[in-house]
């Protein structure tokens, strides 16, 4: 747990500041106005005390002018009222700005998310996206609605006060600075050399504790099931012990300093210093006694400014890492969308010398050439990790190719508008994607103008019509509310949608068929209806499902090693024959299609 390599902290800070400025840019001018209001409000908070001091001066004269005294008191009260108004106004204003800003930010994020390459989402867990939207947008709430105003308020009032006190008596004002200076000395001792390293180590321990907590809790079934309750627990305990002893070793030596530092800023301690100096000055005839009053009224709180700034700095740090992440998102390159362009209708797909890697220097696909003809089914086959899914996703433009090109009816997919591309290329993948809304709305996404008869036709074909009619509000039931669909049912609904979209090209994941074992047969019927008369590219996992397709493309480590009709490949003696043989052996082992093979359980007569 050593503080290892670090980037230059100054560089990080500069980038964070730039990010913060960029994220705040749309509201910064209005925030400046709010800050100005707060500054004036803070001055108005100090002013009444100054007036009260004048009252005191007046009281000490031989014959006080009572009208003047009362006027001062009422003016003070009036200023307080003004301060209340300004303060309310500033808080209100900043919260309204914040509410506006959050709205803009969320809409902007949604816009942005609809333009980044789809691959962006596959690289991130939904947890990451949540963090971005929930925690980071919330952290910015503090930044916009509170932080700047708090800092402005925390600085204006004490600075104005100090200026005033300097005018009243500069010597006593300097006395006020003595405890602040001493506190600074103590603070620098507390921080000491290597403070940044210790902070880094501390954060590393915190991460370790939270990682082991998650592992401990998530793994608890395993740990209990195998009767080793101390297993996950031990790693957790080790982390907690390590964190505890680091924390203790860090805090113990500075505890005394903390104790001393805290007392230096205590108002009573400051008071004694002021009194001693003031009495000395008065005794020497160098000061009017009444000048001590402003110091007692206003000067003793010098400590609070130091503490307020510390508190604000903490929250600002959080907000600035948040704005950093949001800013990085806004810098994610977007898919370039052409202005206009053709819409393919026939559905001839060509991969021409396509290479692709998720990261530079780590190609996943090498120089793939492939033609998919209308009315045929092409199956992608290969060991896991050979690039099947990646190849299929390139056609859907989840990512853009690194080299070569992919064309539909002769047009590069990058030259097609997204709308036109997806009107020509449809897909049914393993993870079902329904959006909030009614069953009808989910279907109509595919073709907004579709008639009632069309909906029913595709839903019947996808074996889901009866189920929908049984829902409380039929086609108007809301997904996730009164339309609670099983995985298989949701899958059939998305197949119905793909039928309705009626794209000439279709990308299909064969695993879709066994997303839900209970309705596997129904899904398969739906798929059979879907593939008819289209250009179909299917990612195949089980070879016996593709024995009758038109063309098999065998991938190995990103290279196309064989292609041709399945029957020919089976006897060609290449990778496909080996895969096929392994598949046959496996099927025999599994025993589903070979009733003579003994299953995994015991023969009868055992009990």
């Amino acid at each position: 747990m050593q503080a290892t390599e670090r980037t230059d902290p100054r560089d990080v800070k500069r980038r964070q500041r730039a990010a913060q400025a960029a994220v705040l840019q749309p509201v910064s001018s209005r925030l400046r106005l709010a800050s100005a209001m707060v500054a004036v409000a803070s001055l108005c908070a100090v002013a009444p005390f100054i007036l009260v001091v004048e009252v005191c001066r007046e009281l000490l004269t031989a014959s006080p002018d009572w009208t003047k005294v009362w006027t001062l008191v009422f003016v003070a009260l009036g200023i307080l009222g003004l301060r209340g108004l300004l303060q309310s106004g500033a808080v209100l204003w900043s919260h309204l700005i914040d509410s506006e800003h959050q709205d803009t930010l969320r809409r902007g994020l949604a816009e942005k998310l609809s333009r980044v390459p789809l691959g962006w989402f596959t690289e991130r867990s939904s947890g990451d996206v949540k963090k971005l939207l929930r925690n980071d947008v919330d952290a910015l709430h503090y930044l916009v609605a509170h932080a700047r105003l708090d800092v402005v308020a925390a600085l204006t009032a004490p600075l104005a006060t100090f200026g005033y006190l300097l005018v009243v008596d500069w010597r006593l004002s300097l006395v006020l600075l003595v405890p602040v200076a001493l506190y600074g000395v103590v603070l620098s001792r507390i921080m000491g050399p290597g403070h940044t390293d210790r902070m880094t180590t501390y954060e590393a321990w915190q991460t370790r504790v939270s990682e082991t907590t998650i592992e401990f809790v998530d793994g608890i079934q395993v740990v209990r099931a195998f009767g080793q309750p101390r297993k996950g627990h031990r790693r957790y305990q080790d982390a907690v012990d390590g964190y505890g002893s680091f924390f203790r070793a860090w805090v113990t030596p500075i505890t005394r300093l903390e104790g001393i530092g805290g007392q230096l800023l205590n108002p009573v301690v400051v008071l004694v210093l002021v009194l001693l100096a003031a009495l000395g000055l008065v005794e020497a005839g160098a000061m009017d006694p009444v000048s001590v009053v402003p110091f007692v009224l206003l000067g003793l709180g010098v400590g609070s400014i130091v503490l307020a700034l510390g508190y604000g700095a903490q929250a600002l740090r959080q907000a600035s890492t948040a704005s950093m992440r949001l800013w990085e998102l806004s810098q994610t390159p977007e898919l370039v969308e052409p202005e206009g362009g053709p819409r393919p209708r026939v559905g001839v797909v060509r991969f021409e010398s396509v290479s692709f890697g998720y990261r530079a220097g780590r190609p996943v696909l090498h120089d793939v050439d492939l033609e998919l003809r209308p009315g045929t089914i092409t199956a992608l086959v290969g060991p896991s990790g050979s690039g099947k899914s990646t190849l299929a996703r390139l056609l859907l433009r989840f990512y853009d190719v690194t080299e070569g090109r992919i064309t539909v009816d002769g047009h590069d997919v990058r030259d097609l508008r997204a709308t036109d591309l997806y009107r020509s290329v449809g897909f049914v993948l393993q993870d079902v994607q329904l959006v909030a809304g009614s069953v009808r709305e989910n279907l109509l996404l595919a073709r907004p103008g579709a008639s009632e008869a069309d909906l029913e036709r595709v839903c019947r074909a996808a074996q889901i019509h009866e189920r929908i009619v049984d829902l409380p509000r039929g086609y108007d039931s809301e997904v996730g509310q009164d339309a609670r669909l099983s995985g298989g049912e949701a899958q059939r609904l998305s197949i119905a949608r793909a039928l309705l979209a009626d794209t000439p090209v279709l990308v299909l994941d064969e695993a879709t068929a066994f997303a839900d074992p209970e309705s596997e047969a129904a899904i398969q019927d739906a798929l059979a209806a879907l593939v008819a008369d289209r250009t179909v590219l299917v990612i195949a996992h089980r070879l016996h499902t593709i024995v009758d397709v038109d063309q098999v493309v065998v991938l190995d480590d990103g290279h196309v090693v064989e292609h041709g009709p399945p029957a020919a490949l089976r006897s060609a003696g290449g990778l496909f024959s080996r895969l096929w043989a392994a598949n046959e052996r496996a099927l025999a082992d599994i025993g589903d299609d070979a009733p003579t093979t003994p299953g995994p359980t015991n023969p009868e007569g055992h009990a």
Binding site: G84, Q87, V91, P267, G599
Partner: protein, 585 residues
């Protein structure tokens, strides 16, 4: 807050607490003494009586020394208690979690506990490290000043006594108003965040249908409603924020007014009046400070409460007179069970699994099959009826004895952030190297290992994420094989496996279940066909039971199910060029 937090103080630091509390109180009271002494001091100063002014100053200085010493004491002891508390609470939380019933855990537990262990524990520590002292001072200093002034000017003292509770109430009202507003804004933003997340997840579909921005009604509505809510609540919440701080200052001006009207009436000397005005400002300062800390205090109180609630969650009760199993049979007797959300998932289920036989649980998803496995291994306790393992009720066994009876292969396989070898070894800590290797070989984990860069020492990543679903299940079969327990509870994988992977899993399962009592949630036809007994479940009830052939002959739900599944197994896609008749379905 204080009582809840005090209960969380570890025994080792408990002796320090009275000293700490005493220091906190003395620290506050000495401050009020200093402020009260300020009145005669300033009065003497303005009268020109410097000699007595010096005298009173000595008094103030003495009080300040007490303030500083007590302040130092409370800081040092407070930090000590807090630091001790962090470690002891984290340890206690860990120990306690290890004793909780498995039913307590769900998919959100890890996140919740992780927040508790880091953030909440630190919040609770903050009470001693820096929160309690200013809070106590916020109450005791003004109270002390008010009481002290009783002997100097009863009017001002009385005004202070009256205004303090008023200020307190206003502050509480304002905070509550603002807190409630913030909560509601938070709820609205949760909703719109959820919509945006859903929006992100549905991107491929939304884009495919050109509905990325316009077509998403849910998102638009949520964003719009949040905007509306946000604005409305801002208006509602602002008064609460501002009224208190204005009122505190108004109180000060009120006190000044009171003092001056007495002076103008002649009942108070000018020097005394000024002294009182000066001290009045000292009366409001700590109030302001305490009010500023109110939010932090509420946070700390909530944190302490959450920790307490966790520590008081009842652990799984262990029997006083532990028993040993007589055989490896399992018996469910009129068992009913509902999860915490209220839905009954097992409804009056009775069946018996004689030792050495296999029972297959079959039925639509959501029919309660997996829950039956969880109940047998006492992840949860039943709501009604009873479950016997080896001739005794499950709750008659100590949890370790009960778990020794079972080898579990469930669908949600968790692997630790460790090497593959260590993950297999979890099956039996004292297994020899050879035993680990042979269990791994049977489950074909050795084949995975060959492909991995560091072989057996390859770290599988957090939760096993660097392995595929099929590979993870093979590791979990290897664990179960290594454990070699008499009863196997098996939830067959439904996720997509290629035939090789699947064959490896089947072979492993075959070995695992040899000569064992088996309860299996079955999806594979071969598994179902060879079971001694099949239970067909629907909506938590057993609707049909018997052997495969009997059930097929009966022509009921099971026969339909079997027909569908057999049809599915023979499925394949047919291209246009090859028109093989009779195929396609």
């Amino acid at each position: 807050m204080i009582r809840t937090v005090l209960r969380l103080v570890p025994d080792s630091e408990r002796a320090t607490v009275p000293r700490y509390l005493a220091a906190v109180v003395v620290h506050a009271l000495a401050q009020s003494v200093a402020y009260v002494l300020l009145v005669p001091l300033l009065e003497a100063l303005f009268r020109g009586d410097l000699a007595s002014a010096w005298g009173w100053t000595a008094g103030v200085a003495a009080a300040a020394v007490v303030v500083a010493v007590a302040g130092y004491q409370q800081a040092v002891t407070g930090i000590r208690i807090g630091v001790g508390m962090v470690h002891s609470l984290q340890t206690r939380i860990g120990d306690h979690i290890a004793t909780l019933p498995l039913g307590w855990f769900d998919s959100t537990t890890a996140g919740r506990v992780s927040r508790l262990v880091s953030t909440s524990v630190k919040d609770a520590m903050g009470v001693f490290a820096h929160l309690l002292t200013p809070m106590v001072a916020g109450v005791l200093v003004p109270a002390g000043v008010a009481v002290g002034l009783l002997f100097i000017d009863p009017h001002v003292s009385l005004a202070m006594v009256v205004s303090a509770p008023l200020l307190y109430l206003v502050n509480r009202w304002g905070r509550r108003l603002y807190g409630r507003a913030e909560d509601r804004v938070h709820t609205a933003s949760e909703e719109s965040n959820a919509r945006v997340i859903e929006f992100a997840q549905a991107q491929p579909v939304l884009r495919a249908f050109d509905a990325a921005t316009t077509g998403n009604r849910g998102l638009q509505e949520a964003l719009e409603s949040q905007r509306r809510e946000g604005r409305r609540l801002v208006w509602a919440s602002v008064p609460g924020l501002v009224v208190f701080s204005s009122l505190v200052q108004a109180t000060f001006v009120g006190l000044v007014y009171l003092v001056i009207s007495q002076t103008s009436g002649g009942s108070l000397s000018a020097p005394a009046a000024i002294a009182l005005i000066a001290v009045s400002s000292r009366f409001i300062d700590p109030l302001n400070q305490a009010a500023e800390l109110a939010t932090a205090a509420r946070g700390a109180a909530n944190a302490a409460e959450r920790i307490r609630a966790l520590l008081e969650t009842p652990p799984l009760d262990e029997p006083t007179a532990p028993v040993r199993p007589q055989d490896s049979s399992v018996r469910f007797e009129a068992v009913s069970f509902a999860y915490a959300d209220g839905a009954t998932v097992v409804d009056d289920v009775t069946f018996e699994v004689p030792a050495g036989t296999t029972t297959a649980l079959v039925g639509p998803s959501g029919s309660g099959k997996t829950t039956l496995l969880r109940l047998a291994s006492r992840f949860y306790d039943v709501d009604a009826g009873r479950i016997e393992v080896g001739g005794h009720p499950v709750d008659a066994y100590p949890s370790t004895t009960l778990m020794e009876q079972f080898a579990l292969v469930f669908q949600d396989v968790y692997l630790f952030h460790q090497s593959i070898a260590e993950n297999v070894r979890i099956g039996r800590a004292d297994a020899t190297e050879g035993e680990v290797l042979s269990a791994a070989a049977v489950a074909r984990v050795d084949e995975i290992v060959e492909r991995l860069p560091d072989g057996w020492d390859t770290n599988v990543g957090e939760g096993g994420t660097s392995l595929s679903g099929g590979e993870r299940q093979r590791v979990s079969i290897a664990r179960a094989l290594l454990k070699d327990a008499p009863i196997v509870l098996l939830d067959e994988a439904t996720s997509a496996l290629d035939p090789q992977n699947e064959a490896a899993v089947v072979r492993g399962v075959h070995e695992l279940t040899r000569d064992k009592t088996v309860i299996v949630v079955a999806h594979r036809l071969s598994t179902i066909r060879h079971a001694d007994q099949i239970l067909f479940l629907d909506q938590g009830r057993i609707v049909e039971r018997g052997a495969h052939d009997e059930l097929l002959a009966a022509g009921g739900r099971y026969a339909d199910f079997w027909g569908e599944r057999s049809r599915a197994a023979g499925w394949h896609l047919v291209g246009s060029a090859t028109t093989a008749d009779g195929s396609g379905k």
